[in-house]
Homo-oligomer: 492 residues x 2
């Protein structure tokens, strides 16, 4: 496996595209904008799923499954939501193919099999779910409903990139129903916090929590909370969102409940989601010019053992040590691969596991057998050392935490260096151009100013941070009063 | 929760439909033929998924994800497969909606957003996957590929029933690629055996293994192996299939590999799947007129504890015992729900958990506190007994195995009673009408006879059993020679 990755400095975007394919994470498919997630990439996604699913269930949520299709009449019921997604959705109009009379062996759409009502392939499921909840909710006793769905969704994006923006993607979408506004707001915040915890502790990716401006909100939401991360090229990435939907969907679908006090009220709603986009965020937070770098908490293979040998007899001796070591490590809950394939050379294997970001590599050769040692290499620092066989298990256990934390601190230091406080629009443009990153600046709170800044610089307001500076000031663009700083950035 | 289920004797089909809805497993959605899988039903499916996924991984398979859509030109490449699915597929023809100029607030399909090539929503993924494998396979070193996908698929069935036959359903589909025919055949058999093991040991559902006749094979397969189960109403249910696809898809998509010997050969393929249909099979194997009966190995809640009390103080005393008991049971890996809701009466709770098939119910009242006992009820036998609090954990541990095995034996006895050996066509029709079940009969091996029997009786050949009677005989219909008995039945 030759290391012919474009470097990040040369062309960050090209580096990313090459890495995703070469590390066997994903590839483009025959369907415009849709990806194939390859087994190694999917194994990382499965680890993300398992952890998130655990966190959702620990906070009282249950999984369910709703239809892939949304009839057009339901899709258009919540007007803002419909408007937000109508321009980029896949539409099923027919339910049958037939033989092409003019072209033997070919098929054509059967015009006699036109659907009475077109079906939209779900770009998000609020409409179909709230139409269902109508049947589930009569009284306050039926509330809250705390449901999550793991599913595929389709948004017909024109420009796509593996993991970051694809026509079909995988995600989870939580949809909850509550008796009070306060409870729905608390749920919205709780789920945003869960996403932040997951990003920090499992992805080793620092994020900032906050809320979106009106123009960046989810279509149909009254508030969108989010977590934003900073990529190595100075662009921001929205990693998760949690929406307070008010009573908008309850009103659109006429979902009312009998209150404890004997009244009748519309139900309060939230929805929240993260997607396979997190794979892109993970890659662009930690990886380097040698390939993928994975935090141990999400690495499908945490340790790989490679034998270096000549001849069967030597391999047998090494395998004895390697298999015992693998077993001991597995007993500690560490996932280990012993790669004793004879179809590839050790050097090829080293390059492959480096490219695929396996956190720790152990090599065992004939000299190690004599000395009772192994060679241990860290993927993140590329450092190597010899370790006594008796001490490997303890060493590796320690390294799992050390690497996880070291990646987190490194990414946090990078992110912190890339938040620049700016008080003047010329400086704003200069920082955006020369340094990138988040720019903390005063804004007058209007969509008009926000749009003008976006037009002139391509930077958007990523979020109004929850724990941001509350100092009052003057908008860098309009000179009007500002209630506090917000974070601007160019974004994925 | 009133028990107003139709009895099985009255109307089996109605009983099933009512049970699925009343036990909160699934319901029909606003989309024709598509279901909503409710949290309790989905929790059972998750248990099935977890166990199957474990079995697939233990046999060397990895998960991946392929696109939802299949471009028409790929869909039609393998002719028999295309022919088999063309008449019942959802077709995406457009990628945008726009405002209806004649109808404010409504949307219409934008005629300017017509796709150049229509996309078929996958009814199965051989085509898109083999088009992808073409890029993955060059040499024998790239083989075997052992990949599985958990996904949703769409088949535009005209008559649908919750879980048994729905337009969209959830399933797993394994797609493997091999260097030799023998290896592919061994994989086909291995996966059919895994399905059988899962059915027997987790669903407590006896199945017969065998192969399909030519006319019942999967479209595009050279052999279809299957497991067939017998439902309580005497109809058979195909619970899983594993296909040997020969080189058909490799030829359709031109997938060749350099052999070890320096030649060039088409790759050999298998595919295999089970779906949410298994939920229907599970329900119709064990449940009774009181509702669902679940084998402990798949029950989301294995034990429910219900307090019977008057006033806060009594509830506190009972809760102390109940919480300790729940903790002790959880330590043994048993999933327990303590239902201390004050919004429902004990009788309502009893009825609900009976309807939902929770294997063991424990009730604790004030007299139990005095006596140091609990009341323990089995869902499968509806028997009750008092057990000393000190002995409950051991008792319940034993019951988990006992109930699992008892359900299995009961279902096996029923199935065995419903295999009838028949040597004459009049008898065949009589048994089919009066008793139902599998009919073991001689068949001359021709599709012609098979079709005529189907036309006259609606019975199909469910399978040619692997361990069937190899005695030669005379076809019950044509009188021609037969190589062995096959199993006929009416089927879901």
């Amino acid at each position: 496996m030759a290391k012919n990755l474009t470097t990040r400095k040369e062309d960050y975007s090209k580096w990313y595209n090459e890495l995703v394919v070469k590390a066997d994470l994903a590839e483009n498919s025959a369907v415009r904008g849709c990806m194939v997630i390859k087994p190694y990439g999917y194994a990382i996604w499965e680890k993300m799923q398992a952890q998130l699913d655990k966190m959702f269930k620990e906070t009282g949520h249950q999984n369910a499954y709703f239809p892939l299709f949304v009839p057009k009449s339901l899709f258009e019921a919540e007007e803002k939501n419909a408007e937000g997604f109508a321009k980029e959705c896949a539409i099923v109009t027919h339910y049958r193919l037939k033989n092409d009379p003019d072209n033997k062996g070919k098929l054509i759409v059967d015009p006699d099999a036109k659907l009475e009502e077109e079906l939209v392939v779900r770009p998000t499921s609020e409409a179909i779910i709230w139409n269902t909840y109508k049947g589930w909710i009569q009284s306050y006793r039926d509330l809250p409903i705390l449901v999550n769905q793991w599913a595929n969704v389709v948004r017909w994006e024109m420009r796509t990139r593996l993991f970051l923006r694809t026509a079909e993607f995988l995600w989870q979408e939580g949809h909850t129903a509550h008796a009070t506004k306060a409870e729905a707001l608390a749920e919205t915040e709780q789920m945003n916090n869960i996403y932040a915890e997951f990003a920090e502790n499992f992805m080793a990716m620092p994020v900032i929590k906050g809320r979106k401006t009106e123009s960046e909100r989810f279509a149909g939401a009254e508030e969108t909370y989010c977590i934003e991360a900073m990529m190595q090229d100075g662009k921001a990435l929205q990693a998760g969102t949690s929406h307070f939907l008010g009573q908008n969907f309850a009103k659109a679908f006429d979902v009312k409940f009998a209150t404890k006090e004997g009244g009748l009220d519309h139900v309060w709603a939230t929805s929240w989601g993260v997607s396979t986009r997190l794979m892109g965020a993970l890659i662009m937070t930690h990886s380097d010019d040698n390939g993928l770098v994975l935090p141990p908490n999400l690495a499908p293979i945490q340790v790989v053992i490679v034998p270096i040998y000549k001849g069967e007899e030597q391999l047998d001796q090494i395998s004895e040590v390697a298999n015992k070591l693998a077993a001991d490590l597995r007993e500690e809950g560490i996932s280990v691969k012993y790669d004793d394939r004879d179809t590839q050379k050790p050097g090829w294997k080293f390059a492959q596991y480096e490219l695929q970001g396996v956190p720790v590599r152990i090599a065992i050769g004939p000299k190690d057998l004599e000395k009772g040692s192994v060679e241990l290499a860290r993927r993140d620092t590329l450092s190597k050392e010899f370790v006594a066989q008796t001490e490997v298990v303890e060493k590796v256990k320690g390294l799992m935490n050390e690497i996880q934390e070291s990646l987190h601190s490194k990414a946090r230091a990078f992110r912190d260096e890339h938040i620049t406080q700016v008080d003047d629009f010329e400086e704003f443009k200069k920082v955006l151009k020369d340094k990138g990153g988040f720019i903390s600046a005063h804004w007058d709170g209007t969509s008009e100013t926000e749009n003008k800044i976006k037009e002139q610089t391509k930077a958007t307001i990523r979020l109004i941070p929850f724990d941001g500076d509350k100092e009052e000031g003057t908008c860098i663009f309009s000179g009007k009063p500002s209630a506090g700083r917000v974070l601007f950035a160019k974004a994925y």
